[in-house]
């Protein structure tokens, strides 16, 4: 049965034992925020399979961990703390990729609900403020100033799909920048922790390049 499931790109693999069947297991963290389904589909399209889980053991043993998220910083952090997922995330040694709200929760503090976050990246998350430009930023914007393996093989000024009202301020850990109202962190990296503000799973072939680069990190 499990082989049939792997062939069918529409199927979701929820098996808690998936990591037994091969190397390169990717865990997508399941919590109260986010469209995890899209991330899983995107991984399938580039030939990878992933398990959506909140099982600590599976997450610890995964080769790669993806921390997605669309939602509210305060309720998401509250949920992570209640489940102990905050401490688990901080303890991970394998490559971890935060996406969108995932990136914001990996920063020190967010203005969204005045929330203390995980503090992996040394920067704060602020609300866009503009009399002229619309908030949230919705659509495709270009990123530049690549300083991470995530962007290997990507064309300069690549366009990424993005939807957000809050942004992570520039800091020493910024590894790609986007301009909207202000220049801000399109991507952050520190040690084994990677994060992107945009949605690589919805950013066409450019987004797929980033996901491929992430899953190929040794």
């Amino acid at each position: 049965m499990r082989f049939q499931q792997q062939k069918d790109c529409c199927k979701i693999i929820h098996s808690k034992n998936y990591y037994l069947f091969g190397v390169g297991m990717i865990a997508i963290i399941k919590y109260n925020a986010g469209n995890v389904q899209s991330v899983q589909y995107a991984l399938h399209r580039i030939g990878a399979t992933a398990v959506v889980t909140d099982d600590f053991d599976i997450i610890r043993k995964a080769d790669k961990v993806i921390f997605p998220g669309v939602g509210h910083a305060q309720s998401a952090m509250q949920y992570l703390r209640e489940k102990g997922l905050d401490q688990l995330l901080l303890s991970l040694q394998q490559p971890v990729l935060g996406i969108c709200l995932g990136l914001q929760l990996m920063c020190k503090h967010s203005e969204e609900g005045n929330t203390d976050c995980l503090g992996i990246f040394d920067t704060d998350v602020k609300l866009f403020s503009s009399a002229e430009l619309k908030v949230p930023q919705i659509g495709w914007n270009n990123i530049y100033g690549y300083k991470s393996v995530l962007f290997n093989g990507l064309s300069e000024q690549a366009f990424m799909y993005t939807v957000h009202s809050y942004y992570a301020a520039l800091c020493n850990e910024t590894v790609a920048t986007t301009d909207y109202i202000v220049p801000f962190s399109a991507a952050l990296q520190k040690d084994n922790f990677y994060a992107v503000q945009f949605h690589p799973e919805k950013s066409g072939t450019a987004g797929e390049t980033i996901l491929k680069n992430f899953i190929q990190i040794p």
Binding site: C9, C10, N35, Q37, S38, Y41, A42, H44, R45, V70, G71, H72, L133, K134, V135, P136, Q137, I138, G139, W140, N141, N142, F159, Y161, V163, H164, D179, Y180, H199, E201, K202, S203, G204, T205, G207, E208
Partner: protein, 252 residues
């Protein structure tokens, strides 16, 4: 720089793509997932699927379609058509839709917009408005696929919906829809300048110049079209090249 979006719209009935002229005379225009794939490869920035199926099987076929689309395409997509409850939306989002559009049900029960926005975030709530300019020169809201007139002005409903949590407005001009004579610039500009959220202009696209006009003169954030793409009258790559050459910010 944030770019203007080109959005092909696929009207779906019983799992097939269809397109009407002035909301009537529906013609068959192909398999939706095949078209979706083609458009995403050609550089479409997003896709909208509006389901006009009226049968009791509707929800099941729509969920199946959403799963196939989400599994196969790598750009964002919106699903709309007859969505009236939080539960409808939960199912569509769970199966991979990025956004949903609501129309008549939201007008009849505006609390739906707040409920959806509170539960799923305003980024996935698109309010669709079908609008018509009447003899008095004002634009009014129409319901039920353009069959039912209301006395509410479009600008008033749009403002209320944004205050309730709508994240984008999909504005279709019934006067322009299917005419290929250009988008409705005046009402698009009015909404786009009055609202804090993006406005997607829809209805009337016939030439590449019409897109230039709605972006530059109508301040639209995105432009949606159906038949000109389905019948290959305008290709998305040449449209985007053209707009870019006109100094409009476009993803190439």
């Amino acid at each position: 720089m944030l770019t203007k979006r080109i959005i092909p719209c696929l009207d779906i009935r019983d799992g097939r793509t269809v397109k009407g002229v002035n909301f009537e005379n529906i013609r068959d225009a192909g398999d939706p997932v095949e078209l979706a794939l083609l458009y995403s490869r050609q550089g479409a920035d997003e896709l909208v699927f509006l389901d006009i199926t009226a049968t009791v099987e509707k929800r099941k076929t729509l969920v199946e379609l959403v799963k196939r689309i989400a599994a196969n395409i790598n750009i964002p997509f919106t699903v709309g058509g007859g969505i009236s409850t939080v539960e409808d939306v939960a199912i569509l989002l769970q199966h991979g839709a990025d956004k949903v559009s609501v129309n008549t049900a939201a007008f009849k029960n505006p609390a739906l917009i707040a409920d959806l926005s509170n539960r799923f975030g305003s980024q996935c709530v698109v309010l669709a408005i079908d609008t018509k300019k009447e003899a008095d020169g004002e634009w009014y809201v129409y319901l039920n696929g353009g069959r039912t007139k209301t006395d509410t002005k479009t600008i008033d409903w749009a403002r209320q919906a944004v205050a309730l949590g709508a994240g984008e407005i999909l504005l279709t001009s019934m006067n322009n829809d299917g005419t290929k004579a250009g988008f409705a610039v005046d009402i698009t500009l009015l909404l786009s300048t009055a609202l804090s959220v993006p406005v997607i202009a829809s209805g009337g696209a016939g030439t590449m110049e019409h897109f230039k006009e709605i972006f530059l003169e109508g301040s639209a954030d995105a432009a949606l079209a159906a038949s000109i793409f389905h019948y290959k009258e305008i290709g998305i790559p040449e449209l985007k090249q053209y707009l870019s050459a006109q100094d409009i910010s476009i993803r190439l």
